[in-house]
Subunit: 273 residues, 2 copies
């Protein structure tokens, strides 16, 4: 092997960091992998940190203490996040997206990995400080965004389901009233999926009346799990009174004239700084 | 802004490439972004390519022609892929995972983003040459792996569901016989989700008799979509005769003594080169 140049080493370190978001690597890890002195590895890290700051390409944090090291976190500058969400809103406000019954078609947006990934990065960025142990979502449409959030946070994704399956073992079930339909639905989670005392971050695609979200809160209560946040891709302006509070969303949907076939999607206010 | 060093530029280019897998970037893009000459950007790319080869950190491909440029593809060396899957198999072969009825608990594995991401990378790597237009899965358990595969391929993830929803517009529905239960089930997909003439890659978590997979094939037929591949996280040894053929899987499950509570999981043979 010819002598390893700093440039090649930096490319490799950057690669490893990004492919392992929110995971702590010790300086020794890089020293051993690249056979360098600590001072050299430390300089490499400084260069990477500087580059990320300069080009708004995420954050490299130094974690001190016995289990210390460096950790890469995806992050989007608030201006970039606003521009990204604004672009989606313009697309979503197209008349061709209004379905019979005044519903908005957004499955195609939620099917694009590069879109859900960026949504997940924006959501994760708000909850790093709360150290959630897992992300919780209810099947099905919210799974992609919830998974991308979980990936950015480097925690498991736990999926609540409508019915229990034989291959999931014993489950805990609750009933909840779906706010939109008024119907009673079941929500189920395997007993082994989470542990008492953990912290959950709820992520879902759509918040209207909040019945499903309330169901997830109740379900976490059954498991003695605390909920550190509730994040949604989109929340509706009507009804104003939701069954939950303290949620954040990326976009708001003006649905006051939905039955007339008019839906307007806007970036959530907190993004427009 | 002080003078941009090559090291910082390389860190930034690596970052952009990895966060946009399987997307072509022209050399001009980097020249403009970093205000450098083509020869300089070209040298940067060569260094990154060399680093990735040396440390088995994915592939950087040069695409020639009018729409040419460079494109990053996640990739795992076959030895690394085998080691990774082997580790999972050892974990999955634990007796504590056998549920009543002889089922295997693997929801926790499929809930870890860093695991499903690597599974998706291994699967995507086998189908780059087939240029699928989208990844298709059936809700719910296969979604994480299917999404990670779609992300690596940079194509949409399309999710077939058990019942149609008002917010998805007109749908195409088919009935299929679930091979395991023998029951007739429904599979549904919005009309707008895919277009005739496209190519699909089917990704799911589990292949037993193949009823669900056969259903997905039939569904694609209804949309005049061709299927370029069928990939599964795990396939069972019994029944030997599946309803589909030509599939690949990452692991095989010896379930001949499942009712006696014995399940053995092994890496698929093709991984052990």
């Amino acid at each position: 092997m010819d002598k390893l140049r700093r440039t090649e080493r930096i490319a490799a370190i950057m690669n490893i960091l990004i492919n392992n978001p929110n995971k702590i690597f010790t300086l020794s890890y890089f020293c051993e992998k690249f056979n360098t002195a600590k001072s050299t590895a430390s300089e490499d890290i400084e260069i990477i940190k500087k580059s990320m700051q300069r080009f708004r390409l995420g954050q490299l944090e130094t974690v001190t203490g016995a289990a210390g090291g460096v950790r890469y976190r995806h992050a989007m500058h608030i201006d970039d996040a606003y521009e990204f969400i604004k672009g989606l809103c313009d697309n979503l406000s197209s008349e061709t997206r209004v379905l019979t019954g005044g519903f908005l078609y957004l499955s195609d947006i939620l099917s694009m990995p590069y879109i859900t990934k960026r949504m997940g990065i924006i959501i994760a960025d708000m909850f790093y400080g709360d150290n959630p142990d897992f992300v919780l979502t209810m099947e099905t449409k919210g799974i992609p965004v919830a998974l991308m959030t979980a990936e950015a946070l480097n925690v498991p994704l736990v999926i609540a389901r409508h019915s229990s399956k034989v291959y999931e073992g014993p489950t805990v079930n609750i009933n909840y009233v779906s706010g939109s339909s008024g119907r009673i639905e079941t929500m189920t989670l395997p007993r082994r999926a989470v542990k008492a005392g953990q912290k959950a971050l709820i992520v879902d695609d759509f918040l209207k009346a909040g019945g499903t979200a309330k169901g997830m809160l109740d379900l976490m209560d059954e498991f003695s799990v605390s909920v550190v946040g509730k994040a949604f891709v989109m929340s509706t302006e009507e009804p104003k009174q939701k069954q939950i509070s303290g949620e954040i969303s990326l976009m708001t949907l003006n649905n006051s004239q939905s039955l007339a076939g008019k839906l307007i999607v806007k970036p959530a206010k907190w993004l427009n700084k």
